[in-house]
């Protein structure tokens, strides 16, 4: 990654035009050519610096529902419980965290009623209480990395 790549990532985390030649417009703002911008974005995606380039959808506005849930998993059961939790296709992310509440996962489903069903299944399968922590208010969502 060079300075130009960082400039692209900093400037293009949103606001990409919806128009006939959006890369040409974005490139002009970055004082580069359309070809160069497209080639750099391809490379940044291929190398994994970008997860993707395109629309970031709001899962809930797509008509689905999302919650965050936590489990206090004993250390020696992390692998086995992760396998039980991750087996549900509704689990979108799952992180181990250094805390008594050691497993945090996001449940995303197209039908809102699937969420309590998945949480109940996980409680039954693992024998652990599932702490449901749905968002009550959203103050900010985004990723504004300055490189």
């Amino acid at each position: 990654m060079d300075a130009k790549d960082r400039q692209i990532i900093n400037a293009l985390q949103g606001g990409f035009p919806v128009s006939e030649t959006p890369f040409a417009e974005a490139a002009a703002r970055l004082h580069m050519t359309e070809d160069d911008l497209i080639a750099r974005l391809r490379r940044l995606c291929d190398e994994g610096h970008l997860s993707r380039f395109g629309p970031m959808y709001n899962a809930e506005r797509l008509g689905g529902a999302v919650t965050l849930a936590a489990l206090a998993v004993p250390d020696e059961r992390i692998e086995a419980v992760a396998a039980q939790v991750n087996a549900h296709p509704e689990i979108a992310h799952n992180y181990a965290r250094a805390h008594d509440f050691s497993m945090w996962f996001v449940v995303a489903a197209e039908q809102p009623e699937q969420i309590p069903a998945v949480l109940a299944d996980i409680a039954a399968e693992t024998g652990l209480p599932v702490y449901d922590m749905p968002k009550l208010e959203e103050y900010y969502v985004g990723l504004r990395f300055e490189l």
Binding site: P55, Y57, N58
Partner: protein, 166 residues
Amino acid sequence: MTGSRDQGPLDATDRRLVVATQDGLPLCPRPYHALAEALGLPPEEVMARLRRMLETGIIRRIGAVPNHYRLGFRANGMSVWDVADAAVGELGPRIGALDFVSHCYRRPRHLPVWPYNLFAMVHGRSRAEVEEKVGEIAQLLGPAARAHDVLYSTRLLKKTGLRLVA
């Protein structure tokens, strides 16, 4: 926790557009035209639908989605705060506005085991950097924050995101 339904569900064409773009736009000079061709739709309709989804918040934004871990932001701390209910509505947006906070939500407490109701995700290149940023949040919240903790991720166990299927 239920989704907003005020826009109604997506229609079948919106859905095809979401499925076609959730992994990214074609990286070519006329990406919306390329999409239109692949979907058998007029380019104007593809662009009009994307603009509408942007306006209604179904699309949060269009652009580069950084892989923070690959970009060197290896420390990911979920800071959690016990903020007085009367103050959280005013303070939450101020924490969300900090440029190092990527997600900020109010969530329910689970007393007595979980007293925290404000969650602010902080990314940094190291834990020391995250701790410094958490200190800035603590300063901003002041005495309204009665307790806090930081939960560092130690392992990503799964990441797929919400997927619509064709």
